[in-house]
């Protein structure tokens, strides 16, 4: 799968999404000092590729996802940069045109989607909604299409007549996936698709996303703090810290030889039941305040390799190998950490 990706990503014509220098800030009002949740991010996703975004809470990964589908809360604003989807700039589209993109071109499984269903409408009525808005399927065929979608996510077709409270958490998450693929989008954003589900349901949801992607060939952006899940699903992974992508590489490369100290620590902090507990390390300290981020490298304060150079200036994201970029002045020393 990764060799395919390599071919795909080198072919510019197959780029599905391209994000350049994207910055999204939050502020309550004009006088407020903005929170620089996403602060100058570049990356792209090829058609049919899965890109994983991993990082701690507050690193900006969900904000990045919400920026792409233009579903930011009112306090959030894309202040700079461009988002090109199939060559078309969508970062500055007026609200009225954004609706054409949502669901049909780009859809999203929102964080906590299983709790976002309207309690007084049947599941079927809610899955039908994007079909109606985009008028993709004629009205008299929508019913059948909904049942088909439910079968795709291993739910009984008669779940369409049920209300959300009648379903388990795992069933609701599958219904949310059915809704997200209803209009056959080219890009699916999945924000924490397994958080708050128990292990058996997690495995089922991950397998399902993988299978649907193989069947339908959509590009996928998976956002999660669950490093193991991200490693499994993704062709390439971006590691986010303090509003920036600090490292990006193919999953295998990142797992074998991370070149950013934060990635290395993230991998070591992973509690994998098959690994003896004494090999787990913790990352001390807290992420930077994104209202007033440090001048230099944002990770310097927590980093064992940091020198004066790191505090004085910001390391750029640079190529350190094939399809491998990192933003660290000391990337050659990371393997010795």
């Amino acid at each position: 799968m990764s060799t395919q990706t390599q071919e795909r990503s080198t072919d510019a014509a197959e780029t599905l999404l391209s994000v350049r220098n994207l910055s999204t800030y939050y502020s309550e009002d004009e006088a407020d000092i903005p929170v620089r949740a996403v602060d100058g991010v570049d990356f792209e996703i090829a058609r049919g590729e899965t890109y994983g975004l991993v990082g701690e809470s507050g690193c900006g990964k969900s904000t990045l996802g919400l920026s792409l589908i233009r579903a930011l809360p009112p306090q959030g604003d894309i202040v700079e940069g461009e988002i090109r989807f199939e060559g078309r700039e969508i970062g500055q589209l007026p609200k009225s045109e954004v609706k054409d993109v949502q669901w049909a071109d780009i859809s999203m499984i929102y964080q906590g989607a299983q709790n976002a269903f309207n309690p007084v409408k049947t599941v079927g009525a809610q899955i039908r909604e994007p079909l109606r808005v985009h008028d993709i399927v004629p009205e008299d065929e929508r019913e059948g299409r909904v049942r088909e979608l439910l079968e795709k996510v291993n739910l009984q077709p008669d779940v369409a007549e049920q209300y959300p409270h009648e379903l388990s958490g795992g069933m609701k998450q599958r219904a949310a996936i059915a809704m997200a693929i209803a209009c056959e989008p080219d890009l699916l954003i999945a924000d924490e698709p397994t958080t708050a589900l128990d292990v058996i349901v997690q495995a089922e949801v991950l397998n399902m996303l993988q299978r649907l992607q193989e069947d339908l060939n959509f590009g996928m952006l998976v956002i999660s703090h669950n490093l193991a899940a991200i490693m499994k699903l993704s062709d390439r992974i971006g590691v986010m810290y303090g509003g920036k992508i600090v490292e990006s590489a193919r999953a295998e490369t990142l797992y074998d030889a991370p070149k950013h100290p934060y990635t290395a620590l993230l991998l070591r902090s992973l509690i994998d039941p098959r690994r003896p507990p004494d090999q787990v390390e913790t990352i001390e300290g807290t992420p930077p305040d994104l209202r007033d981020p440090p001048t230099g490298c944002r990770f310097a304060e927590r980093c064992a390799l940091a020198t004066q150079e790191c505090r004085d200036g910001e390391p750029p994201l640079e190529s350190v190998g094939e399809a491998h970029e990192t933003a660290c002045f000391h990337h050659e020393e990371v393997s010795e950490l």
């Binding site: 701690e56 809470s57 507050g58 388990s168 958490g169 795992g170 069933m171 708050a196 128990d198 292990v199 058996i200 349901v201 997690q202 495995a203 089922e204 991950l206 397998n207 993988q210 703090h225 669950n226 490093l227 193991a228 899940a229 490693m231 499994k232 699903l233 993704s234 999953a251 295998e252 797992y255 620590l265 993230l266 991998l267 902090s269 992973l270 509690i271 994998d272 039941p273 098959r274 003896p276 507990p277 787990v280 390390e281 913790t282 990352i283 807290t286």
Partner: protein, 350 residues
């Protein structure tokens, strides 16, 4: 083991801190009045005969899917909800025999820490207010005593310097810090036993290990015993001495934490562990192989309650309920399970 050795003073002094026998919590499912005239009431067997004992200073985790009864078990063993049947002994005292006021008194020693810090903490109270509240309830009203306990608790959960946190509101704290406040809230009462419901599930990987380390530190420094409820088997292994695996109201396997994860005996334990993805991207995604729909513990299947989902069930399993018995394991620890397909441990005398 010779009869003499069981009577040595060290053995008798190691009385478990908490011991439960055949604990049950059944609910009557509400049905319409007409239905109730003609049908027997439906009983939900949330906890259906659980026996276990926890040693002083031990960390015991119970794992299982949502709906397996683990949270109900945690609450029932502190009488936060009343058991339907069975015995709960805390340091030898039968909790079920205590009156309401005696139980209230006892509760200082037995604390429960709930899973979602965002929901469990009143957003309108400062950390100081949140930590005072349980002391007021338990009649610790002296200002100096309160301040002393608050400082000690905040120090023990590493919210330092404590003075910096006293006047903060929940919204000013991170998820990891809130989780620490929840623990501090239990600590001000100086408990001996804490039930913690999903202490790490809401947290990021990087913070998760630190919160789990905190639990271990509290055990070391304050000699607190813990009963951890979690679906996170990684966390359970990282933290616990022993793990119990629960399915439809019953323990199906129990043993040393490393042993349960490295060498599970019961097919349900195996399914749980197989479903956890390894971080190595080259390895295939795991799968439980048993589907994800947990039956409701109402009309329990005949025989083994796991048989409808079990990949190795035989005819016998559909008819006869398996016995809870000791089975051989590679570690030296006692391994208990209930499965017809796992050979029991041979006792040397037979």
């Amino acid at each position: 083991m010779s009869p003499e050795s069981t009577a040595t003073p060290t053995e008798t002094s190691e009385e478990p801190i908490l011991e439960i026998r055949n604990l049950e919590k059944h609910y009557v499912k509400s049905t319409g009045w007409l239905e109730s005239l003609f049908a027997d009431e439906e009983r939900v067997r949330a906890v259906d005969g659980v026996s276990l004992s926890i040693e002083e200073g031990e960390i015991f985790s119970v794992v299982g899917e949502s709906g397996c009864g683990k949270t109900t078990l945690g609450k029932t063993l502190l009488r936060v909800i009343e058991p339907t049947a069975g015995e709960i002994r805390f340091k030898g005292t039968d909790l079920a025999s205590l009156s309401g006021s005696e139980m209230q008194e006892m509760r200082q020693h037995l604390q429960i820490v709930y899973q979602d810090p965002f929901e469990a903490l009143n957003p309108k109270r400062t950390v100081r207010g949140l930590l005072r509240q349980p002391m007021e309830i338990h009649g610790i009203t002296d200002d100096e005593e309160q301040d002393d306990r608050i400082h000690r608790a905040l120090e023990d959960v590493n919210l330092l310097p404590a003075a910096d946190f006293l006047d903060r509101y929940p919204e000013e704290l991170s998820g990891g810090q809130l989780q620490r406040v929840l623990f501090a809230r239990a600590l001000v009462l100086d408990p001996e036993f804490i039930v913690a419901d999903e202490p790490s599930s809401m947290l990021d990987a990087s913070v998760r290990a630190r919160v789990l380390d905190l639990i271990d530190e509290l055990r070391e420094e304050r000699n607190i015993s813990f009963f951890i409820i979690t679906h996170d088997i990684g966390a359970a292994r990282y933290l616990s001495d022993r793990i119990g695996v629960m399915y439809l109201g019953r323990l199906v396997e129990m043993g040393a934490a490393d042993g349960i994860v490295d060498d599970p005996k019961h097919p349900y334990s195996k399914a749980l562990i197989d479903s956890i993805p390894s971080p190595d991207p080259r390895e295939p995604l795991g799968s439980s192989g048993i589907g994800s729909e947990v039956p409701e513990p109402v009309d329990l299947p005949s025989g083994c309650r796991f048989h409808p989902r079990c990949p190795i069930a035989t005819e016998h399993c559909t008819e006869v309920d398996p016995e809870w018995r000791e089975v051989p394991s590679e570690d030296d620890a006692v391994r208990m399970t209930e499965c017809h397909e796992v050979e029991p441990k041979q006792t040397p005398s037979e």
